[in-house]
Amino acid sequence: MADVKKFTTVEELEADTTKLYERACELCADTWQQRAEAQKNHCKFGEGGICCKNCSMGPCRITPKAPKGICGADAHAIAARNYLRMICAGTSSHSDHAREILHVLHETKPEGPYIVRDEQKLIRLAREWDVAVDNRDIYSIAHEVAEKGLEEFGKSFGEMRFPSRAIESQQAIWRREGIWPRAIDREVVTSLHMTHMGNSADPEALIRQGMRTALSHGWGGSMLGTEITDILFGTPTVWETEGNLGVLENDLVNIVVHGHDPVFSEAIVTAAESKEILDYAKSKNIKGINVVGLCCTANEIAMRHGVRMVGNFLQQENAILTGAVEMMCVDIQCIFPALPQLAQCFHTKFVTSSPIARIPGADYVEFNPSTASEQAKLLVKQAIDNFEYRDTSKVWIPESKQTAVVGYPTEQIIKHLDAITNSHVDEIGSYRPAVDAIKAGVLRGAVAIVGCNNPRVRPDFSHYEIIKTLLKNDILVVATGCAAQLATKTGLMRKEAKFECGAGLRRVCDLMDIPPVLHMGACVDISRMMLLANGIARDWGINLDQIPVVGCAPEWMSEKAVSIANYVVSTGLDVYLGIEPQVNGSSQMMEWITEGTRKLTGGGFIINTDPEQLVKNIIDGIEAKRKALGI
């Protein structure tokens, strides 16, 4: 066996976390571990989704003695309404993020600060949307595309555009089931209306609206977010980077960018590389500036600049606890309100930048695209100024880090597939080579591992165990979000991870020159995964629910995840969950999310909180799909 640098185990990750946690206790700082302990045991009504607070007659909680709320809504109605509201919140998050980015596109101009970096992608999208492109200034096209994109949120009539990217059989299903989304805001508002006191009590109706809303997310807000971000900042390409807390540097100014929207973090990265700032650092005898990413912001800038990734969701406090962070700049989503207080235990400056995520105790610098450069430079200078206040006696940076190869959007995957075609028999620009490898059995299938960390389970453990088992079974893994970061920091995103794979996947990695876990981006980029699955089904000539490709969210926690899981099943793909959605107080809802949706679109949830069992379920599911195809 080749000499491969060892992988980092979950135990090793946990040892660092424990050490940082102990330091936090010494400083009397408050961290998620303590809060999770304090929150035990969770409210059973909340867990079951059967507490209704939608009017002030309640809250009503369903028990055997009180099987109905005051209005008469039963457990099924209440659980379904609560569930739909989670979908709405998730859809809103990614979609509002996309809306902000569309506004940035609308403000692009040749002299910047924001410009169009991927003109070809813009032109492709313009053509798709019937925006005139010939003999036209690229910024004029960009602005009209931005307007068209913004229409997707609240058009008066008609329906959304991106779902027609799906293969015809899938479009037909959406038509048949009446879940083709009309507009993003429309679906969210309709959902909130439906869940208002005195409206829908029928789980099926609420589930169907949930699917339609989720589709406005996956084939709407999320896809817009991805496409427009690519146009603005470039479609990601392959980069070698590093991941885990060890990317913080003892002798450099460390700036952590955290959140999801790259508009802010891109400006920080650019500012930190500018001559003005480097000169400023030099004048202060500082060797350099180390900008690192956390959470999905890390994913965004890693795949566009190779910026290193300091950690995933449950490491946000760890980063500050190293005592080596001069500044943490956050944008939106998944940011602990606990952070400003924790930062105060150190010299760390904590900066919020978005009106969407206002947190008490933070320095708030409302970020404005038109003044992005100046704002970013000012912040980086503040971080530099803060370096001298670092208390080295409080610094401890864990050594652990791994290299990773990141940046595989669909365009990049196609490039690698092109490289294994034979020009005498194959066409390029298709997923056909992947389809052939799956049909022949070399690859058994593919799994999209996505989602968060969750203290309900052993953090990162299920990601690791599931990914490793899938690789051994010749199942390719594509990953986004915090799951992708786990693969980064353990070393599973190195090309050498092929040695952890079965012979089939290993051969594919060898031939395609890829790692066995492909980094597809942030959680908003799960839209890329939908296009990947859609492309595979298209080039195979079968329906989406037939391909041996599934999703898995082993440690999901956010409302975004609930919405994502729903658009994935609405796209015909099964989703394997390691955390139970909060509807188990309703037998009908449990039936709906596991089997009911399958009858509508072919996709449903398979839930198992034991990772060892869950991965078995995935493999069985993939093999069952293969069997049905006669392969």
Binding site: G441, R507, L629, I631
Partner: protein, 713 residues
């Protein structure tokens, strides 16, 4: 819903078929022979090479072969995973090897015209250099038969014209035979056998390459697979119909990294870069080359016949000879001269005297081929380097044979080449194109003149002899002491990753292909190429030949695999070998001398080992004191194992080798030891093939100097 049988099931069923066949073969030989019956292929030190490489088992008796068959069965697992397909595929190749081995039981010679069956180690080793230089871009094995003889012949010729080595398994060989194709190792078309299991002999070549050149240990299952996948450029062309048993062999081929191209569309599954369905067999060649990523050396030369290194081994018989130039009978020569830039007109090709059509069929001619080169970076030392290539360049012309060098050349133009329109100016085109393409970094201009006029050639020969003499004098003045730099050569690291040659004026590369001047020219052509300068610096022991700079160089270029190399001893840190050495020497304990064997010599030696067996002691970048691979011309060098007693240690050599190096060796022995006709005291196979006592008696009778030396061990 797919209705055809899955690819994996086809492999599993096919491997069962091959296993059942092997069981039958074993049963048949067991009826006649007992378990202690020896099992062996001829002329190999690697036993049944596939089984040896994959398991480390030597399989020297029928009993052991039976155990290996059981091992094959244990490998034929059937989970729906590629790992099982690869294991079953390799076990299928092993079962095929068992079937083949049964054919050879009892010293049988199961193969005859046109088939060759098992390939000898010497032949495998011979492929080392051309594979390294890219002169053989790869191997292809054809299995089955194209719809017509013509199509098969077309495919074979097409590969041949690209210098790709072709193995033939099954009916395609018969088709090629019907078409009258010349087929043998020398022309790189090797009909293996009629039955599918004979494909084991092809796999055997690939795995032996891993052990010989890669130094991969027998039994390192993953290591062998990795080596063949990374470094052996081979592909399979399987003609329809392709039954399960062939698909199973294909599984093995793909496991080793060799893609399969087939025109069988029925029940076949495409796998990218591995199993390629190409319905159009006229595209087989290009499809296979692309699938395996073989890099062709493209030489576009405007001549009416094909041009490829595969034709180097072609023999033109007298009966097929249009015209011949034979330097030993009629003045003929080849010469490369450095000129001023103003004296050379680029691509000017001139013929002085009669052209080929003016000679009768079968007649003799005078021939002088003079190549004049100019360039700002040219050095006089490059003249002989270029000139020595003429042999290979002229030989690569289809239908033309070239032997010898300088004024002792012999060139035959075949009838077919002549009829295809080959004329003297085409020699010029070939020499011009090759000089310019191989040495473009230093040659700015090149012109070629071909002379046939007897008087002019006679005059030229006298001038040329002057040049040759001056060069020889220069060469003689080049000693390890007189130069300030040595060179490292890692040309064969693509095959033998931890081997480094140190090339000095008195010690050429062990492959025989890289002299100090060659290395120097290679370095001048490309400073970051395979040959690098090693500033000699001071030695710490000039008897054994220890230079700290040399040690640094081998450490650097072997990536730390080697730490020390001495230049003049075979006992202390001898230089390593890649595996493509021309000769190997090894200590003969009875006399205290060394036996030297060249690759071409097949029979036993007084060491009790054949060339192949001795060669397997070293190679792959391994240091084995007492054994060393080297070039033929090193034998007569004053530096040949100088620390261990020098050439006075040589006690036995095959007669042919003795004849080849005798003159120079005698000269060296006279100078060093004052011995006349030293080679007369060296044993050969006419004295004894394998008896050390008989050799010792011979040495004593002839007063061989080794008997006065201290024992080596």
């Amino acid at each position: 819903m797919e209705t055809k049988k899955t690819l994996f099931s086809r492999v599993f069923d096919g491997s069962d078929e091959m296993f059942a066949w092997a069981e039958r073969s074993i049963a048949e030989v067991s009826a006649k022979y007992d378990d202690s019956t020896p099992i062996a292929y001829q002329n190999t030190a690697y036993f049944l090479a596939i089984l040896y490489s994959m398991t480390g088992r030597k399989n020297q008796t029928l009993g052991e072969l039976k155990e290996s068959l059981a091992w094959c069965k244990s490998q034929m697992t059937k989970d729906e995973r590629l790992d099982d397909v690869f294991r079953s595929g390799i076990a299928t190749a092993c079962a095929a090897e068992i079937i083949e081995a049964c054919k050879y039981v009892g010293g049988a010679t199961p193969y005859s015209e046109p088939f060759y069956g098992h390939m000898s180690d010497a032949e495998v080793r011979e492929l080392g250099v051309p594979l390294v230089t890219g002169d053989i871009p790869g191997f292809v094995v054809l299995i089955g038969a194209a719809p017509s003889d013509d199509q098969t012949a077309e495919i074979i010729k097409s590969y041949q014209s690209k210098s790709i080595y072709v193995f033939l398994v099954g009916e395609c060989a018969i088709q090629a035979q019907r078409k009258g194709l010349t087929m043998n190792h020398a022309v790189r078309v090797y009909p293996v056998g009629m039955e599918l299991p004979s494909v084991a002999h092809v796999v055997s070549v690939a795995v032996r390459a891993a052990m010989i050149f890669g130094g991969i240990q027998p039994g390192d299952y993953e290591g062998i697979k990795k080596y063949t996948f990374d470094r052996v450029n081979a592909a399979v062309n399987a003609f329809e119909p392709v039954p399960d048993i062939t698909v199973a062999c294909g599984g093995g081929a793909i496991a080793y990294g060799f893609p399969v191209v087939t025109n069988d569309e029925k029940d076949m599954w495409a796998v990218p870069r591995s199993l390629i369905i190409q319905p159009d067999i006229t595209q087989f060649v290009d499809t296979a080359i692309e699938a395996r990523g073989m890099k062709l050396k493209i030489t576009n030369i405007d001549i009416p016949v094909a041009y490829a290194t595969a034709f180097e081994g072609e023999v033109i018989r007298k009966a097929d000879m249009q015209v011949e130039a034979n330097g030993s009978r009629h003045d003929s020569l080849e010469l490369c001269r450095l000129r001023e830039l103003s004296e050379v007109e680029d691509h000017k090709i001139t013929v002085v005297g009669k052209d080929l059509e003016e000679y009768e069929f079968g007649s003799q001619m005078n021939l002088a081929m003079v190549v004049e080169v100019a360039g700002k970076k040219m050095q006089p030392d490059f003249e002989p380097v270029f000139e020595r290539q003429f042999h290979a360049w002229i030989n690569a012309i289809e239908g033309v044979m070239h032997t010898g060098q300088r004024d002792m050349i012999r060139v035959r133009v075949g009838k077919q080449a002549y009829e295809a329109g080959f004329r003297l100016k085409h020699f010029g085109e070939v020499l011009y194109a090759m000089v310019k393409s191989e040495y473009e970094a230093v040659v700015d201009k090149c012109q070629v003149t071909i002379y046939t006029d007897a008087e002019t050639v006679k005059q030229l020969r006298a001038e040329a002899n002057d040049v040759y003499d001056k060069r020889d004098a220069r060469l003689l003045s080049l000693t390890d002491e007189s130069v300030k730099d040595f060179f490292s050569c890692i040309m064969c690291q693509s095959f033998s990753p931890s081997h480094v040659c140190i090339v000095t004026p008195e010690r050429l590369g062990l492959c025989g292909a890289v002299s100090w001047l060659d290395a120097k020219a290679t370095y001048e052509l490309d400073n970051s190429g395979p040959c690098r300068i090693v500033p000699k610096g001071d030695s710490t022991d000039d008897v054994i030949g220890i230079w700290p700079n040399v040690d640094d160089a081998v450490q650097q270029y072997s990536m730390g695999a080697l730490e020390h190399v001495t230049l003049y001893s075979i006992m202390q840190d001898p230089m390593t070998s890649c595996g493509c050495f021309e000769c190997i020497c090894g200590i003969e304990p009875t006399s205290g001398g060394v036996v030297i064997v060249n690759r071409e010599h097949v029979p036993m030696t007084p060491l009790g080992m054949t060339f192949s067996e001795m060669a397997s002691m070293t190679g792959g970048g391994v240091q084995t004191p007492g054994y060393m691979g080297h070039g033929k011309h090193f034998i007569a060098s004053k530096k040949f194992m100088a620390a261990d007693g020098g050439s006075a240690r040589i006690v036995w050599m095959p007669k042919a080798l003795k004849d080849q190096v005798g003159e120079k060796l005698n000269k060296t022995a006279k100078e060093l030891f004052g011995i006349d006709n030293f080679t007369d005291s060296i044993g050969d196979e006419t004295i004894t093939e394998d008896d050390p006592e008989a050799l010792l008696n011979f040495l004593t009778e002839h007063n061989h100097p080794v008997l006065t030396l201290e024992p080596l061990i």
